[in-house]
Symmetry: C2
Subunit: 211 residues, 2 copies
């Protein structure tokens, strides 16, 4: 609901940048990254072949913009997951995981772009997961679990790594279609809760009796 004021009939003023971004994400959602063509995008938006270059330096920069947007939303979804959870450390950790997976499954176009090697160096977003806020929230939740005896008390980083790998791996496997044909999970919400509950349970069970 914010300040995006749209003109009426035609694309040519309005917000070509937004239109390109949204159309691109939709294409990647449905047909994968390699199906994305700036020329086709311009055609779909009803503008000429050169028009996109007034909003993005290159195809790569368009993708980087999508990745930045994705990291913002990922952090937001993780915060939401934590906010909806109980206050104890284990529930908080579980909420973060839930948010991560929910974001990935609901925005597979963004997710596919965010973790591509080619763009890792160019991310401008301050709270990109590999760099900042999301990672920090995860680490803090693990530290709280350890402080409350809800996690084994060794090096926290290996637990951070395990937790992150779990939610990331499950998201990637589902999005790329490796899980659909297995007797594993049937729907997305089940996957999200199953993964985040199980991993937190394993961590917590090992904790309450660790050194």
């Amino acid at each position: 609901m914010p300040r995006i004021a749209k003109k009426s009939g035609t694309y040519h003023h309005g917000d070509l940048r937004r239109v390109l971004l949204e159309t691109a994400v939709r294409v990647i959602d449905h047909d994968g990254l390699s199906a994305l063509s700036l020329l086709a995008l311009a055609r779909k938006a009803g503008v000429s072949s050169g028009a996109p270059y007034h909003h993005f330096e290159s195809r790569e920069q368009l993708l980087i913009a999508i990745a930045d947007e994705g990291f913002e939303r990922l952090v937001a979804e993780m915060k939401r997951g934590a906010a909806e959870a109980n206050a104890d450390a284990a529930s908080q950790l579980r909420g973060l995981g839930l948010g991560y997976i929910r974001f990935a499954l609901a925005h597979r176009g963004h997710f596919r772009v965010m973790f591509r090697t080619e763009f890792q160096r160019h991310l401008s977003n301050p709270h990109a997961v590999p760099g900042g806020e999301g990672f920090g929230m995860l680490r803090d939740a693990i530290l709280r679990c350890q402080a409350e005896g809800l996690a084994p008390s060794g090096d926290p980083m290996s637990l951070v790594l395990i937790a992150w790998s779990c939610v990331h791996g499950a998201s990637a496997l589902w999005i790329d279609g490796s899980l659909g044909n297995k007797p594993l999970v049937v729907d997305e919400e089940t996957l999200a809760t199953m993964i985040s509950s199980t991993i937190v349970q394993l961590i917590a069970a090992s904790g309450s009796r660790a050194s």
Copy 2:
């Protein structure tokens, strides 16, 4: 060492198919999937633009061949990991995970292609992980752990999913460069052992006192 007999000086008979496959993997290793061009491949091999099409129906079929090869080697590496481990169920599980991660890090070109959505339907390989042998080994190891009290005794599938997600996620994050700039891991072998040891430890610790 098997039956690949190479002619002497020139590519033009020898084994263009193999040369194309190997060059392609090398390109994807270094510059990612989107940097792969059949035309450039042909140039590098010293053949004409149409030559690759006598060995692969299309660019996509070349990638499917790489994926098939990758799944074969992944299963082999998992078997090797299990063979080198102790005989108890937890060590076996750990060996499979080690093999998975080691394969991924040593063959990132293959790994990147193997799990791409676009190819999931066309895999011809009988022991592709999502379909067969690798998945079966993982499931059996989990079942053995449960039988020996080295894993919680509920639905085995959620543990299979957790274990697979962990090793897959860690591999993907490392390969795509999300882990390099973190205070998490420094080298590949450390990552592989840290992930597989920690997850098996968590599973085992929850097991020895579960119902």
